[in-house]
């Protein structure tokens, strides 16, 4: 049986069902218990599982992640919440220096099966330090898996896969999608594997590589383009690390043109890596430049509404770039 629920309800359901299924799963984070989380992603879980499995923590992101790492080394399956992606910096030492390297530096002696749920993303007028989509900071680090779903179905299935994964997974939840995205989600247990990208729309003329909050605008753009006789294939890179090269390259070989669309800043971003992969591995198949439509290189998302809007990539920008590329 499945029914239509929001992305945040899917997150909550995944946590609840996995805690019922596996005693080793526990949650820790700021305001996740009594308050049920700033966005209510963990609402009701304290009442259901008690304070021994839903731990409200001090504002100490480094210690939150480290506590997860330490407990995972002895068999627990902690799920830590970072309230806003912007607040993750105090924990980067533990994520990058400890979690990502633990398996390697102990030569497999220890693994680090932690899940870090991170609420990210802009576009809501939340300002400089409550809006960043910073997955690229971590995608540089081998040893980490990074996912960012854009549907409720994937949110539940990938969160379950993340918790069961033997390695550290950073699970980005885009706050603008929490309640705007609603789709069919099975009531029971299932996983969506970490790794494979999803072909969301097939097309012959160009490939749009996107993820997160710009998946739906890219699909809207593709519908728009179709009316102008340009058929775009839309691939959602649900897993940013490891990247699904096979699906990406297969599409590029078919369409010969690549448009990369993401919310985050441009320079040294996920798009740059995607472009490099396509250039290195499908150069002969290309029939036009690899084009990026991304957030601008501003240090953080400005507060004032006109600036906030100017910062965002929208459907029109994607359509314009695609038309230009298709004309090559």
């Amino acid at each position: 049986m499945s029914r239509t629920i929001t992305l945040i309800e899917a997150v909550n359901e995944a946590l609840s069902q996995e805690m019922e299924r596996d005693d080793r799963v526990f949650l820790l984070g700021e305001d996740i218990g009594l308050s049920g989380g700033v966005f209510k992603a963990t609402d009701g879980l304290l009442a259901k599982f008690g304070q021994e499995r839903v731990l409200d923590t001090p504002l100490a992101e480094g210690a939150i992640i480290a506590a997860a790492i330490g407990s995972s080394m002895v068999g627990w399956r902690p799920v830590a919440e970072i309230q806003f992606a912007d607040f993750i910096t105090p924990a980067t030492d533990q994520i990058i220096q400890q979690a990502s390297k633990l398996r390697y530096r102990s030569a497999g002696g220890f693994t680090c099966p932690i899940t870090i749920r991170v609420c990210c993303g802009g576009g809501g007028g939340s300002g400089l330090y409550h809006s960043q989509e910073n997955a690229a900071w971590f995608a540089h680090e081998p040893g980490l898996k990074i996912v960012m779903p854009s549907t409720a179905y994937d949110a539940k299935g990938m969160l379950l896969a993340a918790i069961r994964d033997p390695d550290p997974v950073i699970f980005f939840e885009h706050k603008r999608l929490y309640r705007t995205v609603k789709d069919e989600v099975p009531e029971g247990d299932y996983t969506v594997p970490i790794g494979p990208a999803a072909v969301r729309r097939e097309g012959r003329d160009l490939t749009i590589l996107t993820y997160g909050s710009l998946t739906q605008p890219s699909l809207n753009a593709a519908a728009d383009l179709s009316a102008r006789n340009i058929e775009a294939e839309v691939i959602e890179i649900r897993t940013l690390a490891p990247l699904d090269k096979e699906t990406i390259l297969h599409s590029v070989r078919k369409t010969s043109k690549v448009l990369i669309v993401h919310e985050d800043k441009r320079t040294m971003g996920i798009g740059a890596e995607l472009a490099a992969i396509v250039s290195e591995e499908a150069f002969e198949d290309l029939d036009g430049p690899i084009v990026r439509v991304t957030g601008p290189d501003v240090p953080a998302i400005p507060f004032a509404p006109p600036l906030d809007k100017a910062w965002q990539v929208d459907t029109h920008m994607i359509v314009a770039a695609a038309e230009k590329l298709a004309a090559y």
Partner: protein, 332 residues
């Protein structure tokens, strides 16, 4: 905070006394040999010696059972040996050989041993402190009786993670013994140049931890103080901060010219060499003879010699292992 000088020491059996001496000598001779091999180019990278601090690791480790978890520092050869890791796998690790405890991935600063609950050396100063919180939390959630011993130096107390960890340990009443090996220098910066409050054990009070400080050059005093701390933690009284006041006789690392302290200061501390002090006391009490010392030295020499031979003869880590155990991402 007064330093426990232990004028009235608890009775110690001759066997235990000789064991402690032997453990300290194993570490001293192991590291002297490591320094020699470093000078010969057999060991590369950074090498941080524990020489002078043997009483802190050996004395304190007696208070922990095989079920307890150990989190160490980057100056962790002594902790690893005192925990029972074989000298040969440590030497091989320092040689970068595949027979090392981390298959040569780690080297001197990154010893691990799953079987002995030795959760790593940590080359990021302070990095191990909050991980100890996680280990203790896990043990507590499992209703295990185990406690976590978390070693760090005086330099680590300047890190935010020290304070986050003490707060969380006290807040959640976690079974952790925090062991600060205060050797008076954060690399080349003297304690009074990096700490506003130089009495480290006093930092525990604001978090509500029990705390004490002990002469880290006196192995029996360290053992007694750590047993007391561990008993307090095992008794459910919450975490404990024990400051072990010690001194390293060698430079921070083999690459350090040691220009930030005087020769006189080092010479003064060497008069309190923990091994010499302990040997003298044992001789005075009749527990030690020249024959026993000669026998221990010979046995330790054999063990270290065999460790070097094992490391020398072991194969290099194969380059095919470069991507082994990366985990997470298969990027090739």
């Amino acid at each position: 905070m007064s330093v426990t000088t232990m004028p009235e020491r608890p009775p110690v059996t001759p066997e235990h006394a000789v064991f402690l001496l032997r453990e300290m000598l194993r570490i001293r001779r192991f590291e002297e040999k490591a320094a020699e091999m470093y000078s010969l180019g057999k060991i590369h990278g950074f090498l941080h010696l524990y020489i002078g601090e043997e009483a802190t690791g050996v004395g304190s480790m007696q208070a922990f059972t095989p079920d307890d978890a150990i989190v160490a520092t980057y100056r962790e050869h002594g902790h690893a040996l005192a925990r029972g890791m074989p000298a040969r796998v440590l030497m091989a690790e320092m040689y970068g050989k595949v027979t090392g405890c981390s298959h040569g991935h780690g080297g001197s600063m990154h010893f691990f041993d799953t079987n002995r609950r030795f959760y790593g050396g940590y080359a990021i100063v302070g990095g191990g402190l909050p991980i100890a919180i996680g280990l203790a939390l896990a043990d507590q959630m499992q209703n295990r009786q185990a406690i976590t011993a978390c070693y760090f130096g005086d330099g680590a107390v300047a890190e935010g993670e020290f304070h986050e960890s003490l707060n969380l340990a006290a807040l959640w009443k976690l079974p952790v013994v925090f062991l600060c090996e205060n050797n008076l220098y954060a690399m080349g910066t003297a304690l009074e140049r990096h700490q506003a409050q130089t009495d480290i054990s006093r930092k525990a009070a604001v978090y509500g931890l029990s705390a004490s400080a002990v002469d880290g050059m006196d192995v029996l005093a360290v053992e007694a103080a750590t047993r007391e701390a561990a008993a307090s933690v095992r008794g459910g009284k919450g975490p404990y901060l024990l400051e072990l006041r010690t001194y390293r006789f060698r430079a921070h690392s083999m690459a350090d010219p040691d220009l930030y302290r005087t020769k006189e200061e080092i010479a003064e501390w060497k008069k309190r060499d923990p091994i010499v002090l302990f040997q003298n006391r044992l001789r005075e009490s009749g527990m030690l003879t020249d024959e026993i010392v000669a026998r221990i030295e010979a046995e330790v020499g054999d063990e270290i010699g065999q460790a070097v031979q094992f490391a020398e003869e072991s194969p290099r880590e194969p380059v095919e292992d470069l991507l082994k155990e990366v985990g997470g991402q298969n990027r090739s």
